[in-house]
């Protein structure tokens, strides 16, 4: 039911988006240059390529601060609950019962969905970006942050990377109808702090709840400060955004590499661009995935954009007109914007 919507719903929307015919995310591999060259004369490199182009070889002062997370007991990505495990299949009778409950009480699925989508799927996305453990290979995005940008491998750095990605999602959530957007934001933040608390105890070996509370308060003020600073940068200009990224993500390091800052500004702006082209419905169904830093986002031509919109509208119209649509798949959010 719920996990069903999440799994298949997100995968199919992603496919629609990554489809070269509708092409929102164009990999910098062969086909993108072919299809995009005509309307985009200037070719971009991906943020990762840009960052590694820099010849400045100095080591930031905080770079040698290596404290990779070395947990005694590793936590699962989301929770111990079996409902959030990928392998779990809800028994058919429970699924049917759920559908009956939703139908008879006429539950607002858009509101219900905020939990599994924002609290679970989107939080996992943000969490994964900078996740690092000792003696474990880093993901592509984590490599970009820890190797290319030379950020220190610490827990608080992971938090900074996570909230940067959460803020990117917040920007899109604000553009949803207020009631739902607020709910999505709330679920994401709630989940962040529950998870951090558990990680502090289980993975960072903090034994005292007083110390954990102090950390959590600190993280909370960091989150509020960062959201404020990024918001200011988002509406004003690139230099303000760069300064906000420098203060938060780069910890205000003195010998920052401007090329790295530029790469980060491009990274953030391109993610926001992708989000701006996504309809409420797709985003709320969990159809978004961060563009990896080794991929380049090119602007859509108006032809591509209208093609993409048409495909999305067709897809959801067919879904809404289907009389057999499960009550849990219903949504009132717009798919046209």
């Amino acid at each position: 039911m719920l996990n069903y919507t999440l799994a298949t719903g997100s995968r199919s929307t992603l496919r629609a988006l990554r489809n070269p015919k509708n092409g929102l995310l164009l990999k910098n591999a062969s086909f993108s240059t072919k299809s995009v060259k005509s309307n985009e004369p200037d070719k971009f490199e991906s943020p990762e390529e840009l960052a590694s182009k820099s010849h400045l070889k100095t080591q930031p002062i905080d770079f040698p601060n290596k404290a990779p997370v070395n947990p005694k007991k590793k936590r699962p990505l989301l929770s111990d609950s079996k409902y959030e495990s990928k392998l779990y299949q809800l028994p058919k009778w429970k699924e049917a019962l759920g559908e009956i409950v939703i139908r008879s009480f006429n539950l607002d699925m858009d509101k219900v969905r905020s939990g599994p989508v924002a609290g679970s799927y989107y939080y996992a996305l943000c969490k994964e970006q900078g996740l690092q453990f000792e003696n474990e290979p880093l993901s592509t995005t984590a490599k970009f942050f820890y190797h290319d940008l030379k950020l220190p491998r610490t827990f608080s750095q992971w938090f900074q990377i996570t909230i940067l990605h959460e803020w990117i999602l917040f920007v899109r959530m604000r553009a949803m109808p207020f009631k739902y957007g607020k709910n999505y934001q709330q679920k994401l933040v709630d989940r962040t702090f529950t998870d951090i608390e558990l990680r502090l105890f289980d993975e960072m070996n903090v034994n005292s709840s007083r110390i954990a509370d102090q950390y959590l308060k600190d993280f909370n003020s960091q989150l509020r400060g960062a959201v404020f600073a990024y918001d200011e940068g988002f509406v004003t200009d690139d230099s303000t955004l760069a300064a906000a990224i420098w203060r938060n993500l780069f910890g205000g390091r003195k010998n920052v590499d401007m090329v790295h800052l530029e790469a980060m500004v491009r990274y953030v702006r391109s993610q926001l661009y992708v989000l701006s082209k996504m309809s409420d419905r797709e985003f709320a169904m969990g159809g978004f995935k961060f563009v990896s830093p080794d991929e380049t986002v090119y602007r859509l031509s108006s032809q591509q954009e209208s093609d993409m919109k048409k495909a999305v509208i067709e897809k959801y119209e067919a879904m809404d007109n289907n009389p057999d649509l499960l009550p849990s798949d219903r949504s009132k959010l717009s798919y046209e914007n």
Binding site: I61, A175, A243, G251, V256, V259, V265, L275
Partner: protein, 156 residues
């Protein structure tokens, strides 16, 4: 060779000076710290501008109220990190690279290329969100007690 480095650094300092002043004061500023760093290389007088100006009592109070020390760092460690002048090896090429990136940032290339339009800038759920934020920062329109209470109750 060193002459070339100095020349390149001077160019970079000129670009750095174009960075906008911060609207809200913070403990460190990108502009100040980078000017200090590159003026030294350019052989220019450091400390005559911005970065070394003594903060007023109000500024200090303001900063203390807003922030405790960044997480996990003792205050004196933080100070040490701020005081260290990193030893750096520059070549004319690397400095030119820095200047080029800075100029790209200054030209707002990415904001304009990846323009998100009114969909995100005037979000449907809360169209005045960014406007209110900027008004408050720039001091154009201060929030009053009642508008603040309204936000608490309604959420926007």
């Amino acid at each position: 060779m060193s002459g070339m480095i100095r020349e390149a650094a001077k160019q970079l300092v000129r670009s750095l000076e174009k960075l906008p002043e911060e609207r809200v004061k913070h403990i460190v500023s990108l502009k100040g710290s980078q000017l200090e760093r590159y003026k030294y290389i350019a052989g220019l007088e450091t400390g005559s501008q911005g970065s070394k100006q003594k903060p007023s009592l109000q500024d200090i109070k303001d900063i203390i109220n807003r922030t405790s020390g960044p997480l996990g760092l003792q205050k004196d460690t933080l100070k040490k990190a701020q005081d260290v002048i990193p030893e750096e090896q520059f070549t004319a090429e690397t400095i030119q690279e820095q200047a080029q990136s800075l100029n790209t940032i200054l030209s707002n290339k990415y904001r304009d290329y990846y323009s998100v339009g009114d969909k995100l800038l005037k979000p449907q759920g809360n169209p005045v969100y960014y406007q209110r934020l900027m008004d408050e920062i720039e001091g154009k329109k201060k929030e009053t007690f009642w508008t603040a209470m309204r936000t608490v109750v309604l959420g926007k």
